[in-house]
């Protein structure tokens, strides 16, 4: 079966609709060594040389077509790689595959031939933790420089060791094998890491054949700020929460915080009061609007190449959202507003005034969006830049673990707010936006229409909050000062970030700090599909595609 064919297999389920663990164990046969219970799903411990078999079986015969994350970690006695699998049609169907390897020889089979997305995830696991993947197409460091010594998330890494980083011109990777050596007429082009079109510090190694892109390889890691290490050094209750704000600084702050909160609340068994959930939902959607406005503004900046009206309009409208968020949280970007079990404080007083401001913003929005449509989507020049460029096939998208507006722009109907509902989303009325185009234009349209949906959600939240009886406004559950989830508890939980599925894996080790904290970044997976979308197209289309992916490097590199 080719990797890109559509599959219509459903996972075996029990009568209550959950995934049937025993049936899956049977399906995998004697590859299974053991079973573990993770909070989010059943986990099967399998042999290190059967990874491809197991994943292929799970994909083709049980319908788990979304490899959402690969976590690697080092224990006292072994290395472990955990593959978190889901189903695009119903992400509540989850299963984890745990692959232990010995400490002396941490070699396990690569999943990249089965899921393309495993390519980058395993490179990261190799880079930071040091697990070797056999049969991997290109097992190199991805976040740290090639000459780095040691694996920083390993147990015996010494952070004070000196390191040497080279500054070299990059070579033409196609020179020898693809374009006939000496007479090669391809040209190697470095885009970035300092380049206006890369949205930060991304380096795109591009090989051009005339004006056409022959090959492209995003080189990331120029903003690898050790977010996972920082989280592993912090205590659950207070010290971790400020960091999520700095992953997707679009600012997806509240959404990111929610990702951490959701995982940690799951781990520590905390119920969040309904009132707080409504506030969270409202805040998260404001963040989403700000993110999508930024994406639209910078996309136009990429295409028009200058600080034109549309960029300024985007910034103007973001100022309004940022003011609302500042009133709510106290900061313009780095909110640190969520707490485990709720939010830090209530809507600012006077409440009526705040709600009025929010409503004013919502009332102005439709006219503003019309303006955007006038300026960009109806502009012929703009259309010719993005209609039918950067095409991403839905099945290819799934293979690369693509989520969020990028997936929805290819017609993949996947939105965790609806499919794996959290917060207050399932009580509200809103629609998941999809477009079938699969091109740059479709992705832009998805974002712009999502702004409208987010506005709908905010409006309903404001209605609810306004009428909420005063004595039931509970903003935080009762959470102990120090949290020490039981050792060995593991969970992987995701929320729908502005860029897609933002997942957190936490393993508790019995202390008040996580034993392992892994961030599944949507932009990381989305960016890995760039090659698929741009090869064979013109170089200006590559820039457009990059813009429409809306990567935030803080989130890609973490």
């Amino acid at each position: 079966m080719s990797a890109y064919e559509e599959r219509n297999v459903e996972p075996p389920t029990t009568e209550s609709g959950d995934v049937d663990g025993d049936a899956i164990e049977e399906l995998l046969g004697d590859h299974v060594l053991d079973r573990e219970d993770h909070l989010n799903a059943d986990a099967y411990v399998v042999r290190a040389d059967a990874v491809q078999d197991v994943l292929q079986t799970l994909r083709d015969e049980a319908g788990f077509d979304h490899l959402s994350c690969v976590t690697a970690e080092e224990h006292e006695d072994r290395f472990e790689s955990i593959y978190h699998l889901k189903q695009y049609d119903d992400p509540t169907n989850e299963v984890s595959v745990v692959v232990p390897t010995s400490r002396e020889e941490p070699v396990s089979e690569s999943a990249a031939p089965v899921f393309r997305t495993a390519d980058w995830h395993e490179r990261e696991a190799y880079d930071l933790v040091g697990v070797q993947y056999e049969d991997h197409p290109n097992l190199e460091r991805i976040l740290l420089p090639d000459t780095w010594q040691g694996h920083p998330l390993g147990l015996d890494y010494n952070q004070d060791k000196p390191q040497i980083v080279t500054f070299e011109e990059n070579k033409n990777p196609l020179e020898d094998h693809a374009r006939g050596g000496e007479d090669s007429d391809t040209m190697y082009l470095n885009i970035g890491p300092h380049h206006p079109a890369t949205h930060g510090v991304l380096h795109v190694e591009t090989v051009l054949d005339g004006e056409q892109v022959a090959d492209v390889n995003p080189d990331i890691g120029y903003l690898h700020r050790c977010e996972e290490q920082m989280a592993q050094k912090g205590t659950y209750r207070y010290q971790i929460m400020p960091y999520p704000d700095r992953w997707d600084y679009g600012p997806g702050g509240i959404i990111n915080e929610w990702a951490y909160a959701r995982a940690a609340e799951d781990l520590a068994d905390i119920e969040v009061p309904e009132y707080a959930q409504v506030i969270r939902t409202m805040g998260a959607e404001m963040c989403r609007i700000a993110c999508h406005l930024l994406a639209t503004a910078t996309f136009a900046l990429d295409l028009y190449g200058d600080f034109t009206a549309i960029f300024m309009y985007g910034m103007r409208d973001r100022e309004v959202v940022q003011n609302l968020l500042e009133d709510l949280t106290g900061q313009r970007m780095m909110f640190n507003y969520l707490r485990l079990g709720g939010v830090v404080w209530d809507i600012p007083e006077p409440r009526e005034e705040y709600f009025e401001n929010v409503r004013d913003f919502l009332d102005d929005l439709p006219a503003k969006l019309d303006e955007y449509h006038d300026l960009i989507t109806e502009n012929e020049i703009f259309q010719s830049r993005c209609v039918d460029t950067g095409y991403l096939d839905p099945e290819v998208a799934k293979d690369y673990g693509v989520t969020g507006p990028v997936a929805r722009g290819s017609g993949v109907d996947y939105d965790l707010r609806r499919d794996d509902s959290y917060g207050y989303y399932d009580e509200l009325e809103w629609d998941v936006v999809t477009e079938d185009g699969g091109d740059n234009f479709a992705r832009l349209l998805v974002r712009m229409r999502e702004i409208e949906e987010s506005a709908r959600i905010i409006e309903q939240c404001v209605d609810l909050l306004e009428d909420w009886p005063e004595d039931e406004r509970e903003i935080q559950a009762n959470v102990p000062r120090t949290l020490k989830p039981e050792a060995g508890k593991e969970t992987y939980r995701a929320v729908e970030g502005a860029k897609g599925e933002l997942g957190i894996y936490i393993r508790a080790d019995g202390t008040e700090k996580p034993g392992r904290f892994k961030i599944r970044s949507p932009a990381f997976s989305n960016l890995s599909a760039l090659q698929e979308m741009s090869t064979g197209e013109y170089i200006p289309d590559l820039v457009a595609t990059l813009g429409s992916l809306d990567v935030i490097l803080g989130e890609v590199d973490r």
């Binding site: 740290l144 420089p145 090639d146 000459t147 780095w148 010594q149 920083p152 890494y157 952070q159 004070d160 060791k161 000196p162 390191q163 040497i164 980083v165 080279t166 500054f167 070299e168 890491p193 300092h194 380049h195 206006p196 949205h199 930060g200 510090v201 890691g221 120029y222 903003l223 690898h224 700020r225 050790c226 977010e227 290490q229 920082m230 050094k233 400020p242 960091y243 704000d245 700095r246 600084y249 679009g250 600012p251 930024l294 600080f307 960029f311 300024m312 910034m315 103007r316 973001r318 100022e319 940022q322 313009r332 970007m333 780095m334 490097l553 803080g554």
Partner: protein
Amino acid sequence: MSSDQPRDSITGTSEPLTDTREARMGEGVDSRFNSKLREAFGSTPFILTKFDKFMNWVRGSSMFMLQFGIACCSIEMMHTYSVKHDLDRFHAGVPRASPRQADVMIVPGTIVSKFAPRMKRVYDQMPEPKFVVNMGNCSTSGGPFQEGYNVVKGAEEVIPVDIHIPGCPPRPEALVYGVAKLQERIANGESSPVTVKPYELEEFGDLDRDELVQKLADDIDEETLVMRYNWADSP
């Protein structure tokens, strides 16, 4: 009044316009030229000053920034450039994409080991005289990520810096203030002293032959430029 209904004043007579202009100018010589500056000069249109001083004043009053985004702070930097905060009001608002056309570099974000050599190169490509504004805690000291294994503890480890703006991220107002302070310094002819920085680009062959260098000797050519991080000595 909406713009799709033409105003009388434009389609009809030009009188209102002339009236306004005359009312504004008053009689006699156009008083708009009688600025404070002019008053200070007295009746002569010539001024006598040191050429250096004049150049410094010009430099401070016409700065081209490098369009340079690194991390979260760059979002606030974009806000500073655009409507509402509009850095252009302070003669510093046109970001240039090429370092060769820029004279001020705002460093808006965390600098990590892989990026520092590139940033050094971008800085080297800017023509003299050049100035650096550190925006945010990260570029000042590593900020919230200071303890990270991969994070350079501030841009000052790599390039000379004139102004530090604290905050995470600093508000646009703070950035405007920082830039204004820089202009003041430039006008006074001050700039940060150029000193040897802890981290420099060197040829690999020039490094002391210690254990690490021996180990990498097969992978790196003698002439390759490298940056060596001595994390243990970092602040």
